[in-house]
Each structure stands twice: as structure tokens, then as C-alpha cells.
Amino acid sequence: MSFQPVKFYQTGTYTVGNRLLAPDERSVQANQMRGNSINSGHRACQGCGEALGARYAIDAAMVESNGQLIAANATGCLEVFSTPYPESSWQVPWIHSLFGNTAAVATGIAAAMKAKGRHEVRVVAQGGDGGTTDIGFGCLSGMFERNDDVLYICYDNEGYMNTGVQRSSATPPAARTATTMPVGPEPGNVFGQGKNVPEIAMAHGIPYVATATVADLRDLEYKVRKAMRMHGARYIQIFVPCPLGWGTASHDTIRIARLAKESGMFPVFEAEHGEVTSVLKIRNKVAIGEYLKPQKRFAHLFGKHAHPETVARLQAIADRNIRKYGLLEEETD
């Protein structure tokens, strides 16, 4: 492949594309020989963060496993939009069993491969936040605790989108969902609930836990590839905006994901054996409002009947994340 002269078409970002990199450093998606694990033609919505995240993640996993990959999938958007009978987008061997058992199904596949001596075959499990942090949590924790050789990827769009945007334990406070409507004195999802599954995963002491967003796709690929080079239970939670469920513009998916990270609402980090080993620093800190305002699910916090105190409470959550994970560059004298 020959190099083309560098042209800086993009502005306002920190990326200049693959062309500046040597071929072996380029992203998986930049390679024409990429796996195309989820082929085009699936039925995801325009601007779907999950489809993007899954494409990058599974193709990256395919590279590290030399194409020897089996995927288990929870019920949810990804399952439904990728396999409308009799079609399937999957170019990898793929199984969907139930909503809440994906981690266990993956454990079974890994056990079968071990029993059959096919050590080269690797296993990923994937699901949305509902299938991971709620209904699939028991099986997920069991898979972690046994340190089964499975990479579990959670595509976190902060709610049950497949069933019509209901609240999950990953839905942020104040967000509007079909079951946390913006009515009453404390509109939207309540504060003080929900669970932080990456941290719970870390508490299992598993070899690798990471978070990523679809705004930093190189980082996402890097983490999946790193995870695939390890064995045992691994967990990656990918922040994937949902235009339909969040009320965001389809073309804004990447921007919203970036704002979640830059505001501190979604800390991006890696941990090994329960210890945080790296964080993706905030480059241009933004106030929480910048992240919230483009999303209709937070619209009730602004405008005529604004809730500045609720916005402040969300800001406090972001600030706590920033302190806890050290998301800002150290001030230098």
C-alpha cells in the first residue's frame, strides 16, 4: 500500500487519520482485509452507536484471534437488528440464546473448545446494558468469579432500547425513559440508584476491565486487542449513544460520546486484576450542560422549567468521576 500525501481535511479533532501511520499501526477498520464480522445490510437505526461499537470490537477481536472467534449474543437491539430471519449479518459463528444468560452460554462454548482441544478458538460474549447489568448480571458475575476464558463486551446505551426505551440500572440520574418520565417534583430517573458494573467487574479481580466509547475508536480497538491477548474473564463496557432512545441527532453519535467522556460523565479507563492501570485523560473539559443539552432525554432540565439544581447534581457526579479516576491532566507550574 503506498502512502498518499497528508491532507488535513478535519478540523476541531485530534485525529488526522491512518494515513500518517505505518500500515501495521493502522486501525483494523482501515484494513481492506478486515473481518467485516457484522456485515452491512443489518437493520440498525441511522447513527446507531451499538452497531458501530460492535463492528469495531468484533473485527478487532477477529484480528487477534486470527479469525478463530465464536460470539454469543444477548437478546437486545444488536441481536434483533443483526439477524432478521432468514438473514444474518454475522460472518463469525454466532449464537443467541436468551436475554440473561449470555455470559454462561459463552462459558459453555469456551468449555467445549477446551474439552475439544481447540485452544486457538476464542470466545466473546456481548450484550446491551440491560442484558449485562440487569437480567444477565448473575451469569456475568458467575463467569467473572470462575475466571472463564471469555471476553464480555457490554454495549452501554443506558437503557432498554429494544423494548422502547425503559430504564435500566445503567440509566443515568434525571434521564427521561418510558419508565422514568419527566414529571413530578424530581423528573426523570432518580438519583442514588444504578450500578457501576466496570467497578463491580474489578471487584472480582479479573485480569482485565476497560471502558471505551465510540468517540475514541482507536482506543476501543486497542482495548479489545489487548483483552484478546489475555486469557481468563475480561470485561469491556463501551459507551454507545442511542439516537432513538436519547433523542439525539443521528449524525451526533460520535460527538455525544466524546462529550460524555470530556465532561467526566463516562470515565474511560483500564484496570488489571482490580487495579486501575490507565485512564484516558480529558483533553478539553466541558461543563455537563454541553453534554446534556443535545439530548432530548435531558430536555426537561433546560428551557422554561429548567432544573439548574439537577444539572448541578449531575455536574457533581462528573466531578467525582474526574477526582476519583484522575481524569484531568495534572496542573504543572
Binding site: 430471519y85 454466532w94 459453555g108 467445549a112 474439552a115 475439544k116
Partner: protein
């Protein structure tokens, strides 16, 4: 090899002989001894290559089995009672996906009230799940049925529950002939899956199926069980050729030739029934027995053929369709539709209530004289039942039923035997 051993141990040895590749286990009485024994064999390296996975729930146990079976590994688990109910979603899923998992159900009652003892409520609740269900009469038959089950399940690519009475069989020491490895190998070929997750030939399994194809998929599950009706007797014949024993099949009759009254039952109680029938035959009663081994698929034709020459039958079952009567009885009556046979239902042995010969003598004599209600509750303590009904009539806040009944019975349950 003939040995005196515990039912669970014998079943574990049978499973081991079937060369399982993935075994997943979650503890629930009374199946624990089976998976404990298998776990020890795997740990000692006797079953290599076999993975033994201690899962966090029965739901996970069945889910792991789904994953491993779909990846082409011969997969086994065991459960009972609440455990079976806890995995129900995955039970249906395994059947829907056509995965030939074999599972022992150590039959036990379902709570509340919590009860660890034997009846058939658990597996019968799953009669429409798409799993085949074979019921063992003795521990020898439990051993043999497991070996046949792997063969049948894998041939048809459908899962099978082998049902054995909890405690009564699982914890009983009796004489069992454990087959030789060569015999089992001759009978049970290696698992050749119809569908398999393999990077060499990627397939999608478990796609969403809409109204345009769902009925066809479901019909095919039914068609497979209809095929099983043909294969089960053939596999029993083949089994006899290699192992020299009559085991399995769809149904089995005992002293039925000129019987005017037929007793229909499943599982270990058939032994007690046969003893009673022998005693009654000695007194000149024309009475016989029909044991049902295959409850799913249900052998309508064979049941009808076995009963049609009699004058009446009584289905003695360890299960209750609340608000209806018998579960097995409903199926049996379907088999004799239009025959004009008198049929009775007897509910017995729920929650481990002993089924003594004396009660059966009385029941069968009443059946002969057709002096039975359509549904009889064997050895029901009407005094405490009526007392509670009266209590509820008198008092709105009558309190928890089970605790009232225990109070009226004045028993500390562990101090009783029988």
C-alpha cells in the same frame, strides 16, 4: 459389573461411560450426589477431556450446557424441583434450538411449602417444553436410560430429561449392573452435531423468527418427538442386544393379559404396585399394570393398546394439576378417547408422602368395584383439611395455611418416619 451401590453413584458412573465433554452443576437436593461423583471423576482426570463447571445457578447450568452443546460438546447436567423451575427459560431455549443435552431430573416436589421429598411435579411442569422425558422404575433402569438418552437425543438433536425419583431411587443402595466401557462405546457413537459453532464454517444460531416461519420450526420439534416414538423401542431392542437387558421402551405391562382393572403409573412406585398386584392376583383379582417410561413423547397408541382390553383403569400419579386433577391421567384419558373405558385418577405421594401397599390394596379394590370418585387423593388427612377450611370460614385472618396444618398435625416433621 454387578455392584451394590447408591442410585446417584450408579448414574454418575453411567454418565462417565457416555464420555461427556462438558458437565455443569449446581447443588440442589436430591441430585447432588450425582454431580458430586462426576466432579470427583473429572478432578481426578478420569474423564479427560471433560470440563466440569460449578455454576452460580441452575439457569446458568442450562445456559452453559446450551453453549457447550451448540459448540459440539456432549453436554450433561442434573437438577430437581426449584432448580428445574429456575432454569425453565433456558430449558425451553435448549429444546427450541434443538440441542441434544441430557439432564437428570431427580424428581422432587415444588414449593411452597418448601419440601425436598419426591413427587413428579417438577419434570411434569416441563412436559410441553420440547424435552423428551423418560421415567426410570429402578436404579438399573436409570443407568440404562441415560445411555439410551444420549443416543436418542443426539440422533434427533433434541434434549432429554431422564427422570428418577428423588431419594427413593437417587439415595437408595441396590444392585446395579454397571456396563463395560466397550459396551457403551458400541452403543453410543461419538457426538456428530447437526449444527455447530465453528470458525471454519460460521453459522448463526438463534435468530429471531417471525410469524412466517415460527410454526414450522415448532412443528418440526413435534415431528421429532413423533420420530422418537418409533426410535425409542428400536433403541431399547438394540440396547438389549448389547447389554442383555430389557430397559427403556415406551411402556411396559405387567400381568396385563386378562386384566379387567389396569393400574397406570410412572417411576419407582411401579415396584410397590407390582408387589400389590401379585398379592391380589394370588387372591384371584384380574388386575394388571401399565408402566409409562416415555412420558414425552407420549405413546398414545401403545397406552391405548395396553388398556383397551380391560374394563377400567386407574392412573396413580405423583403429581397434581391444581384445579383439574391428574396430569398423567389427562394424557392417558386422551389415549383411550371414545373407548368407553372407565378411568379413575389417584393422586398419591405428593411431597414424599409414603405410598404403602396397604393403601394401594384398598384403592385398587375400590377401583375394581368402580367405587371411586373421578379424582381420589390417597391417604389425605381429611381431618386437618376440614379443620383448616373451617378455620378459614370462621376467621378472615386465618393465617398461613402450611403452618396451620403443621400445628394441627402436631408434628415436628423430622421425628416421623414413613
Amino acid at each position: 459389573m454387578l455392584k451394590q451401590t447408591e442410585g446417584s453413584k450408579a448414574v454418575a458412573e453411567a454418565i462417565a461411560l457416555c464420555r461427556p465433554e462438558v458437565i455443569c452443576a449446581y447443588p440442589i437436593s436430591p441430585q447432588t450426589h450425582i454431580v458430586e461423583a462426576l466432579g470427583e471423576m473429572v478432578k481426578a482426570g478420569e474423564l479427560a477431556p471433560c470440563e466440569f463447571i460449578n455454576v452460580e445457578s441452575e439457569f446458568a447450568a442450562m445456559s452453559v450446557a446450551i453453549g457447550s452443546s451448540a459448540a459440539g460438546a456432549r453436554s450433561y447436567t442434573a437438577t430437581a424441583s426449584q432448580g428445574l423451575l429456575f432454569m425453565v427459560e433456558a430449558v425451553y431455549n435448549a429444546a427450541g434450538l434443538g440441542l441434544p443435552i441430557v439432564m437428570t431430573v431427580a424428581n422432587r416436589a415444588i414449593g411452597a411449602p418448601i419440601n425436598i421429598w419426591n413427587d413428579h411435579s417438577d419434570s411434569l411442569s416441563q412436559r410441553d417444553s420440547g424435552w423428551m422425558q423418560l421415567f426410570a422404575e429402578t436404579n438399573q433402569e436409570a443407568v440404562d436410560l441415560h445411555i439410551q438418552a444420549f443416543r436418542l437425543a443426539e440422533e434427533l438433536s433434541m434434549p432429554i430429561m431422564v427422570c428418577m425419583d428423588g431419594f427413593i431411587l437417587t439415595h437408595a443402595f441396590e444392585r446395579v449392573d454397571i456396563p463395560a466401557q466397550e459396551q457403551v462405546d458400541a452403543y453410543l457413537p461419538p457426538f456428530d452435531p447437526r449444527q455447530v459453532l465453528d470458525p471454519a464454517e460460521p453459522v448463526s444460531i438463534g435468530a429471531m423468527v417471525g410469524p412466517e416461519a415460527f410454526m414450522e420450526v415448532k412443528y418440526l420439534a413435534h415431528a421429532k418427538q413423533m420420530q422418537a416414538l418409533e426410535r425409542i423401542p428400536q433403541l431399547a431392542d438394540e440396547f438389549k442386544k448389547i447389554f442383555g437387558r430389557d430397559s427403556g421402551g415406551l411402556v411396559r405391562t405387567y400381568r396385563a393379559d386378562d386384566a379387567e382393572t389396569m393400574i397406570v403409573a410412572m417411576g419407582s412406585v411401579l415396584g410397590t404396585i407390582k408387589d400389590v398386584v401379585d398379592e391380589m392376583r394370588a387372591e384371584g383379582h384380574k388386575i394388571g399394570v401399565l408402566g409409562i417410561i416415555s412420558f414425552r413423547p407420549f405413546p398414545l397408541e401403545q397406552v391405548r393398546a395396553a388398556l383397551i382390553k380391560s374394563k377400567r383403569f386407574i392412573v396413580l400419579e405423583k403429581s397434581l394439576a391444581v384445579g383439574m386433577g391428574g396430569i398423567v391421567a389427562t394424557n392417558v384419558r386422551m389415549a383411550v378417547t371414545g373407548s368407553g373405558l372407565r378411568g379413575f385418577t389417584a393422586i398419591a405421594g405428593l411431597g414424599g408422602r409414603a405410598i404403602p401397599k396397604s393403601s394401594l390394596h384398598k384403592l385398587f379394590r375400590q377401583a375394581e368395584q368402580e367405587k371411586l370418585e373421578p379424582v381420589t387423593f390417597v391417604d389425605l388427612d381429611w381431618d386437618v383439611v376440614n379443620k383448616q377450611l373451617e378455620r378459614e370460614k370462621q376467621n378472615r385472618r386465618s393465617g398461613p395455611i402450611a403452618e396451620n396444618i403443621l400445628f394441627d398435625k402436631g408434628m415436628s416433621s423430622s421425628a416421623k418416619f414413613g
